[in-house]
Symmetry: C3
Subunit: 132 residues, 3 copies
């Protein structure tokens, strides 16, 4: 079983939300590591927009199987390619999360728009058994 | 065998085509269910654009295998996640359509752009047999 | 093993780079076939932008496995659907490239933006053996 997610975000939405004046919003949506990463750039809004689009695209790709909030989907920058980190302590039951999905996300942005795409592949234990 | 499709559409294209004055165009491209869904919003153009992008992305993902017209690819909203409904009565021969593909589509839009992505997986009967 | 890549490009970036005055740039980034294809249109910038986005999206989808430069990733137009041609003579070692990945790319553009998406599937020889 697999699923996909796409998200497009206007950079302007984040440009209009200064971090210093909207810290509470940022803390509710982003993880400390994401915030630190985005603020390390001269134009954080583009990176907040891309990170947000990444989170949303992953959410769309997994939410039929995993009940998780946006701030528990972390987009981690590993050199160039972004990685997805699901902080799943209390999301869904074991029947949902015992074999975590393989998730890839890709991000891109211009000065005006950020686009993200995610693909999640859930290993079906039933089928895996019938193949081996 | 699998294939993908992406489509980006300017919302303005649909904003410029008022439904009341262009009903024929809409009926040629969209299904009654799609039209009803999009018109249920205050800003139908964004939803027509997203639906159109969805149809186009699915078309691109399947047209190497299935010969189908755009108005036969229906994007159905099932709570949040869109579903794809292929109305295939007379499309392609049985050799093409006897095992319908698994298709996922994801949509996203801003007030200016709609983006859609589709992934189609065609089960290869030959290979399926060799695995089981 | 599989991976994805998305890329969004402003058409304006290419509109501002006239081919005649920036031939060296175009030759460094695009293949002769790509340049010929894009210049065959009245508005080459849109096609250069879509081709560039396609190359970037493929690069993102394969670069964890294949060490390749952008001008060696060729987007070939085959009637409607674009095909990917990796010119891999001297990229990576045999351990990386002995089973070339299956790659699909899809392109879309408006007059302002080009979006591309790529999906690459690397055949894992180990797993392939265990299934057959």
């Amino acid at each position: 079983m697999w699923d996909i997610g796409v998200d497009v975000v206007e950079v302007q939405r984040f440009r209009a939300l200064d971090y210093g004046e909207n810290t509470e919003f940022y803390n509710r949506v982003f993880t400390p590591r994401e915030i630190e990463y985005c603020l390390s750039f001269k134009n954080p809004a583009q990176h907040f927009a891309a990170t947000y689009a990444g989170k949303e695209s992953v959410y769309k790709a997994i939410n039929s199987r995993i009940d998780i909030e946006l701030h528990r989907i972390e987009i981690v920058r590993d050199r160039n390619a972004p990685k997805v980190n699901l902080m799943m302590e209390d999301c869904g039951g074991p029947e949902k999360t015992d074999s975590p999905p393989q998730i890839k996300v890709s991000l891109s942005h211009t000065s005006s728009y950020a686009v993200a795409f995610a693909l999640a592949v859930f290993e079906d234990p039933e089928q895996a058994r019938s193949i081996k």
